[in-house]
């Protein structure tokens, strides 16, 4: 009976890592497509990835519920499973938003050279946040999870800088309004992905230490 339980936990772990890796790939492909400007191929790939992420979410949900019902886990195992249930929601949102970004990028057209450095930096920051949070999950490393939150502040300030540069451009009446809006949306989506990565990291911390956002839950 226990053996089966361990097996199911290992499967859960593997599926979680796969889902995290899919998210990383989705946002990496998306970011590359904006920065390098080869949208049509990228959007198909992201769409496939988004579908896979959704499928993984359902799979993991069913694994978690099966585990909860059949094995009635306690303590660390229970934390791990309930944290997984929360994390997949954030991961699924990351997939959705990656697709949103790719679609918006198609409307937006090529990135203007003056926006590239800031947006590129934001994208790299967010990608590293997703990677770090998945890494923290893989290694069950609460400390690494904690460092993701710090990066989120940097991502937020990058977003604010992009926003002010857009405002400045609008006030100068240069460029098209549509482009500016699309760029703002993309930056906002990226910033949201950063928030989801932070959430994931917080749940990793919870699953390892039992502390969520600085407070005991169980």
């Amino acid at each position: 009976m226990r053996n089966k339980f361990d097996e199911q936990l290992a499967t859960l772990n593997r599926e979680m890592i796969s889902m995290g890796a899919l998210c990383e790939e989705a946002i990496a492909v998306t970011a590359r497509s904006i920065l390098d400007g080869d949208n049509p191929a990228a959007i198909d790939r992201v769409r496939v990835l988004e579908n896979e992420i959704d499928q993984k979410e359902r799979d993991i949900e069913s694994i978690c519920l099966k585990l909860l019902l059949q094995q009635q886990p306690v303590a660390g195992d229970l934390r791990q499973i309930s944290a997984a249930l929360k994390m997949i929601t954030d991961m699924e949102r990351i997939g959705d938003q990656a697709l949103d970004i790719a679609e918006t990028a198609v409307f937006m057209g090529p990135l203007e050279p003056e926006d590239a450095p800031l947006l590129g930096e934001l994208a790299r920051k967010v990608i590293s946040m997703v990677t770090d949070s998945v890494d923290a999950f893989v290694r069950h490393d609460a400390e690494a999870a904690g460092s993701v939150a710090a990066k989120d502040d940097e991502a937020d300030s990058l977003f604010t800088r992009i926003k002010s540069s857009i405002i400045e451009r609008i006030s100068r009446h240069s460029g098209t309004g549509e482009y500016a809006l699309d760029l703002l949306m993309i930056a906002k989506y990226l910033e949201r992905i950063g928030d989801h990565a932070t959430n994931i990291a917080e749940w990793v911390e919870f699953s390892v230490t039992g502390v969520h956002k600085g407070g005991e839950m169980l």
Binding site: E7, A10, T11, N13, R14, I17, S18, G20, A21, E24, E25, V134, V138, R139
Partner: protein
């Protein structure tokens, strides 16, 4: 064990007790009964004699003890009884012993009491007057006897239980004690009782077998790890679920895995899309290969499923470092592309000029110029093809004839050849040094000097200076150095200028001419002679390239 022994001992004791009881009771009871009956018969005879003689008076003052004496008339009515009132007693004419006595003179019988606890035996004697004298005595039945012995017997059984229990536990201890004390590491050296020796022999032989199997196992494992630990390829063995069973040091280095990674999922080491697709194909039973980039190096990962009866039991993951291979491939591709391009450019020129000439579109006074261009481009082609042939011959490692060559003289010749080109740009070439000769391939040495000097002139500053020096080195070799004060080579290009067709100026500017193969030929020619090349350069200040020939081998 104790329980079994206890049961056996107790059963034996109990059976012995029962048997003894039955025997003794049977024999003694029989004996006792016979004695009593003899005594009773004697008493009957005695009493009969007495009554014959004295009549009723015989009974006066007679103490008959336990024996009851009854005098019965011929009709069966009781005349006298020592124990009861004769008048109250019933007629005895139907009694067995009475009937027997009347018929035969003597009668006997026995009857059990209503409780079966006592048996009464009777003896009857017929008197002369036709009356019958009967004696009777009671004795306890076997059942009553046994009932009487019940409590003592119980005590004995209880004692037997206690004794059996004690003996059983003691015996069990004595049997098991040596077993527990057996030293299994050296079974045959134990001092145990004889019955144990077959067991000990078997233990010994099994121990030997286990030991040899363990040794075999650890030997195999050592062999395996000796092989895998020292291979430069990464090797990871995975089970069906993708858990790491074994990972060799090279693989651990490639994936940055710690010692704790055994028993964990391969995806915890690497979750790149390439590896995941590889694992998917492996778990589906297909062989797969991908190239991944880790820490600046490129690795080819190949995953082979381990199939037993068509079912995947696990996966073998091999990682080769293909950085060099891919780099060589890239260089070869670039080289091919470059060669084609370089060959095509002069041909286009030649074709263009030839077409114009053929179509008669060239004025007669320009014809010479066009023919000149065709010739110079053809010369360029020939030079390029020569260079490529030289390079490929050196690549093949062809043997060229070697001869003693004076490098200083060679440098002077080259300087003379380059004189017109240098003069055109106002560059002065000076050849100096103590001189030295090398035993080598004259043609290749000429290529070295020529290409170095040609480059120095090409990339030198207008009105600048090129100095060529041939000197003996401290180690007994010869050094050839060519220095200019031209544009220099930027730091990021220095490592690559010896590659074929590599040019600092990517536009492949034709202003300076050249094939892009010069330094590559120098490198190969130097290698052919076992010489080393030193490159010193400062952007905007000039370049100095020295070729250090090793001391001549005496052999």
């Amino acid at each position: 064990m104790t329980k079994k022994i206890f049961r056996a001992i107790f059963m034996v004791a109990f059976l012995v007790l029962l048997a003894c009881l039955a025997l003794i009771t049977g024999v003694l009871y029989d004996n006792f009964t016979r004695q009593q009956s003899d005594q009773l018969s004697a008493q009957a005879e005695l009493a009969a004699q007495g009554v014959e003689d004295e009549g009723l008076a015989y009974f006066d003052g007679l103490d008959s003890g336990d024996t009851r004496i009854t005098w019965i008339a011929a009709d069966g009515s009781v005349l006298y009884d020592t124990d009861a009132d004769s008048g109250a007693m019933e007629n005895h004419s139907t009694r067995e012993e009475f009937i027997e006595a009347v018929e035969t003179g003597r009668g006997e019988s026995s009857r059990y009491s209503s409780t079966l606890s006592t048996e009464t035996i009777y003896r009857a004697v017929l008197l002369d007057d036709g009356t019958v004298l009967r004696t009777a005595a009671d004795h306890d039945t076997v059942l009553a006897l046994l009932l009487g012995m019940f409590f003592p017997l119980l005590a004995i059984v209880a004692a037997a239980v206690a004794l059996a229990a004690w003996l059983a536990s003691r015996l069990a201890r004595r049997i098991v004690g040596p077993l527990n004390a057996i030293d299994l590491d050296s079974p045959l050296e134990n001092e145990a009782y004889d019955e144990l020796s077959p067991l000990l022999t078997r233990v010994e032989s099994q121990k030997e077998q286990i030991k040899s199997q363990l040794e075999e196992l650890s030997r195999r494992r050592e062999e395996f790890s000796a092989v895998t630990d020292n291979m430069s390829e990464g090797l990871i063995l995975l089970d069906r679920e993708g858990m790491i069973l074994s990972i060799n040091p090279s693989a651990a280095r490639i994936f940055g895995a710690g010692s704790a990674s055994i028993g964990r999922d391969i995806l915890t080491l690497d979750r790149s899309p390439e590896l995941r697709s590889l694992m998917e194909s492996a778990s589906a039973g297909r062989h797969g290969e991908v190239v991944i980039e880790r820490g600046g190096a490129e690795y080819q990962l190949s995953a082979s499923p381990v199939l037993t009866d068509g079912v995947s039991r696990g996966t073998v993951l091999l990682a080769f470092d293909v950085t060099e291979k891919l780099k060589a491939e890239r260089i070869r591709r670039e080289f091919t592309a470059n060669v084609s391009h370089e060959l095509k450019t002069p041909l286009h020129s030649i074709m263009g000029a030839a077409e114009l000439l053929q179509d008669g579109l060239v004025k007669s006074e320009d014809q010479q110029r066009f023919l000149g261009r065709i010739r110079s481009e053809a010369e360029r082609l020939v030079a390029l093809v020569d260079d490529v042939i030289d390079l490929s011959r050196m690549d093949e490692g062809d043997n060229f004839p070697r001869e003693e060559t004076d490098l200083l003289q060679l440098a002077r010749d080259v300087a003379g050849d380059l004189g017109p080109a240098a003069e055109k740009r106002g560059i002065a070439i000076s050849v100096g040094g103590s001189g030295g000769s090398v035993f080598g391939v004259r043609r290749l040495l000429w290529e070295i000097v020529w290409n170095l000097c040609d480059n120095a002139v090409k990339y030198g500053r207008d009105g600048g200076h090129v100095s060529v020096a041939v000197e003996g080195t401290a180690s007994g070799g010869v050094s050839l150095s060519v220095a200019d004060d031209g544009i220099g080579i930027p730091a990021e290009h220095r490592a690559r200028v010896f590659e074929r067709f590599y040019r600092v100026d990517k536009s492949h500017s034709r202003a300076t001419g050249g094939t892009g193969l010069g330094l590559s030929i120098v490198k190969h020619a130097a290698q052919y002679h076992g010489a080393q090349i030193e490159l010193e350069s400062e952007e905007g200040r000039g370049t100095r390239i020295a070729v250090l020939f090793p001391p001549r081998s005496t052999g």
